[in-house]
Symmetry: C2
Subunit: 436 residues, 2 copies
C-alpha cells in the first residue's frame, strides 16, 4: 500500500523514489488531499538528500502531466524556445524571438514576470501600449503560421502542481535545490508546445546561481532533464556580473530592443543574443553550418527583417507598432537624474543584484505579487566593466517617477557602480556551452 | 531580525542553532502562529542534519519551560525517577517504585500509556479497580511525605510544545531521531519534580531502538541531556529480545507485580528491577555500597515492606488493596486458550514486537488513541529463551475476551515463538551501563 509516510521515510533515508511514489505525492498536491506539512517534510528531505537524474525526470514528467499541455501541429523543423534563469537588463528574448523567426525557425516563446531583483519579459512587453500577453492556443498557432513566433504568458492551467509546490518551497527554504528548480522549470517549459530548448543559465552577482559551478550543475540538469524526456536541448552559461546591455526597466528595455533590431545593439547584448540564436537554429535541424548561421543572423538584422517580424508580432498581439519608429509612443519618465563620476578611473565592478533591487525600488518591479509596476522608470547605463570614465562624465541616467527624490536615488546608485584606478581584468561573457 | 525562514535555512545547511533560534521556533509552536509546514520542514532538517549536545539541551530546556514545572520541597536525598523507552511485558516501574521507596528514597513516578506494540504503566495501574492516575501536585507531595512515592500520569500542562511537535513528527516521518527523542523525553521528565533519573533503554526486536548501537546513542544522549541541565542521571541498556517476565496485558502484569513483591518474581524481571533500583539508590546520594544495596533490596522484598508500600500506594490512589491478597479482585478473562508445543526442542526466538502487537490485537492496547482497552486480556508465557519444551507442553496461556476466536489467536501466536533443535546461545539481559 502506498503511503506518504513511507515515501517521506524513503527519501529521508537517502533512497531512490519510484514512479508511483512521485505520482502519489504529486496527485496529493494537485488534488489537495496531501497536507502541507507532509509535502514540506518531503520537500526538505528531497532538498537535503537530492534527486538523481531519473527521479528529476520523473518529477518533471509527473508535474508536466498534472496540467494542460499545448501541442501545435508538426512543423518542418523543430520549434525552439529559450529560457533564461533571470538577470538584470536581460531583454534577449525580445530580440531573439523575431530574429530566429526571421530565419524560418518557429519560436513559441512563453515567458514569466519579474522575480525578485530580475526583470520579466511579460512586464517588458506590456509597456507597449495595448500589448497583450494572454493568448489562446488557437491564436498562438495562427501566429506561428503567419509570422513564425509569438510571445505570451503561461496559462494557469499549465503544471498546477508546480504552482502549489513553488508556493510551499518559497516559505520552507527549499527553493535553491538543483533538481527541484530543474523539475519546476521543465514542467512548465515542456508544456508549452516547443520541440527543443535552449537555456541561458546566468551566473555571477546578479544571478540566482551566483557561482559558475552551481550554474553548470543547473545547466546540465536542465539539458539532461529535457533529453531524458526526448526534447533536444542545450545550455549556455553566461555572466551576470554586470547588467546586460545598457538599460534596465520595462519601456527602456523595449527601446533598447528596437535599437538592437535596427543594428544598434550593445556588443554584450548582441553577443549573447547571437550565441543563443545560433544554438536555437542548430537545434531546429534546419541549419548546421555555424559560419553560415552567423552571416544569416547579421543579415536578418541589417535588412530589417527581424525588426519587421517584431512589428508584426506587436500588431498581432494588440500593441502599438508605432513604437518602432518613435520611442515617444512608449510610456517614458518625465524626470531624469544624471549620475556623474566623482573621480576619473575605470569601472571596476557593478553590484548587479543591488542594481536590480534598486530598479525594483524605483518602481520597475514588484516586492509583493499584487504590486503594480511603472513601465516608465529605470536606468540607462552608459558604461560597461573596464570602461574609462572621466570626472563629471555621465555614467548613468536614472528615469524616475514623482515619488522618488532624485538625490536619494543618485546616492543609492553611486554605491553600486565602483570606479577604481586599476583596469579590471577581461570579463568573459559566454562562460560555457553545455551541449548535453 | 529573527525569521523562521532563516532558522530553517541554517539547519538545512547543517549549521548550529542558537538559543534564540530554538526559542523562536518553540514559541511559534506553542503560541500557534508557526505554520505546520514550516515546523515540518525544520523538523526534517533537524532529523537529517542532527542537533549536537548543546542544541539538544537547549531544545529540551525551551520545551521544558513551555509548560508547567512541578517542584516539590527539598528532601534529604535526591528523588529519583525511572524512565523506560518501552518494551513488551515491562512492568518494572510497578515493582521498582515501592521497592525504592521502601529504602527511604522518594520516587515521584510519572508514566505514560501504551504506545504502539508496547504497554504503558498507566494502563496497567488502571486495571486495579478504583485506581486513579490523575493526581494533583498537592496530593503528589502528600504521598511523597506519607509513603515516599506515587505513580501518576502527566498533566496536559507539562511541556505542551512536545505534545504539538510529537503529533507533527508522527505524521512527517521525523520520530526516530536521537536528539528529537531525547528532547521530547527529557522535556516531560524534567518537569515532573524528580531530582535525578535512571533510564532503561530497551534494545532488540521488541524495542523502538532495535540495535544496541542506536540504544547506546540514545542512552548517552539522555544522560548527557540531563547532566547538561544539572540533573544527575544514568542509563542501562537492556535486552528486549523476549518479553520481560512472564506476563503481557494489564491485569496480568499487576498480578505478576504482586507476585514479584512477594518474592516470587521471574529471574529476568527481578534482575532488571534490582539493577535499576541499585542505580536509583546510588543516584539518590543515600547509599554508595553496591553490596549493601543488594542485601537491602532483597530484604525489602522478603520482609514485605515493598509490598506494604505498594498496598498503601493503591489505597492512597483510590484503588482496591484487596488485589494484593486475592487476584480475583482484578478484572480477569474468563476464557483461556493454551498454546502447546508441537515438537520437542528449545525456545530459540521470540518475535517480541509481533507478540506486542498480538496483545494489542487481543485488546490489551490501542491502535487509535480513542480505543478503549480490555484490562483482562493478555498472555502468560511459561517459557524463556533457551528453555527446553516437550511436545504438548504448555508454552503460553492466551487470556481472551469473547470477540476473539481461540484457534485464531493460537495460530497467530504459534508463529511468534520459535522452537528449534539447537539451544540458542546465552542471552545477555543487562547489556551496558551508561554512567555519564
Amino acid at each position: 500500500m502506498q503511503s506518504i509516510y513511507s515515501i517521506i521515510t524513503k527519501k529521508r533515508d537517502g533512497h531512490k523514489l519510484k514512479t508511483e511514489d512521485i505520482q502519489y505525492f504529486i496527485d496529493g498536491v494537485v488534488q489537495g488531499w496531501l497536507p502541507d506539512y507532509q509535502a514540506a517534510a518531503l520537500l526538505m528531505a528531497m532538498f537535503i538528500k537530492g534527486l538523481d537524474e531519473e527521479e528529476t525526470a520523473l518529477l518533471t514528467s509527473v508535474m508536466l502531466h498534472s496540467g494542460e499541455i499545448i501541442r501545435f501541429p508538426k512543423a518542418n523543423y523543430l520549434r525552439v524556445d529559450k529560457h533564461s534563469t533571470g538577470g538584470v537588463g536581460d531583454k534577449v528574448s525580445l530580440i531573439l524571438t523575431p530574429l530566429v523567426a526571421a530565419c524560418d525557425v518557429q519560436v513559441p516563446m512563453l515567458s514569466g514576470r519579474g522575480l525578485g531583483h530580475t526583470g520579466g519579459t511579460l512586464d517588458k512587453l506590456e509597456s507597449i501600449p495595448g500589448f497583450t500577453t494572454a493568448l489562446s492556443p488557437i491564436k498562438m498557432e495562427q501566429m506561428l503560421a503567419d509570422i513564425g513566433c509569438f510571445m505570451a504568458g503561461q496559462t494557469e492551467q499549465v503544471a498546477p502542481a508546480d504552482r502549489k509546490l513553488y508556493a510551499l518551497r518559497d516559505v520552507t527554504a527549499t527553493v535553491e535545490s538543483i533538481p527541484l528548480i530543474t523539475a519546476s522549470i521543465l514542467a512548465k517549459k515542456l508544456a508549452e508546445g516547443a520541440d527543443a530548448f535552449v537555456f541561458d543559465v546566468k551566473t555571477g552577482d546578479g544571478a540566482f546561481m551566483e557561482t559558475p559551478d552551481e550554474a553548470k550543475k543547473l545547466a546540465k540538469a536542465l539539458v539532461k532533464g529535457c533529453q531524458s524526456l526526448n526534447f533536444p536541448a542545450r545550455a549556455l552559461i553566461t555572466s551576470m556580473d554586470q547588467p546586460l546591455g545598457q538599460t534596465i526597466g520595462n519601456s527602456l528595455e523595449v527601446m533598447e530592443t528596437i535599437n538592437a533590431l535596427k543594428g544598434e545593439g550593445a556588443p554584450d547584448l548582441m553577443e549573447v543574443t547571437y550565441e543563443l540564436a545560433t544554438q536555437m537554429l542548430l537545434l531546429s535541424g534546419k541549419y548546421n553550418d555555424i559560419k553560415a548561421i552567423s552571416t544569416l543572423l547579421h543579415e536578418k538584422i541589417s535588412d530589417g527583417s527581424a525588426l519587421n517580424i517584431f512589428a508584426k508580432l506587436i500588431t498581432a498581439q494588440g500593441g502599438e507598432p508605432e513604437i518602432i519608429h518613435d520611442h515617444r509612443h512608449l510610456p517614458l519618465a518625465t524626470r531624469v537624474a544624471l549620475l556623474k563620476a566623482e573621480v576619473t578611473g575605470f569601472v571596476s565592478a557593478f553590484k548587479t543584484k543591488e542594481i536590480g533591487w534598486f530598479t525594483v525600488w524605483l518602481g520597475a518591479g514588484r516586492i509583493k505579487k499584487e504590486d503594480s509596476i511603472n513601465p516608465a522608470v529605470g536606468l540607462i547605463i552608459h558604461k560597461k566593466l573596464g570602461d574609462l570614465v572621466h570626472r563629471d562624465e555621465v555614467i548613468a541616467e536614472i528615469h524616475l517617477d514623482n515619488r522618488t527624490e532624485p538625490n536619494d536615488a543618485l546616492s543609492k546608485l553611486r554605491n553600486m557602480i565602483i570606479i577604481d584606478d586599476k583596469k579590471p581584468k577581461h570579463h568573459k561573457l559566454i562562460i560555457e556551452r553545455i551541449i548535453g
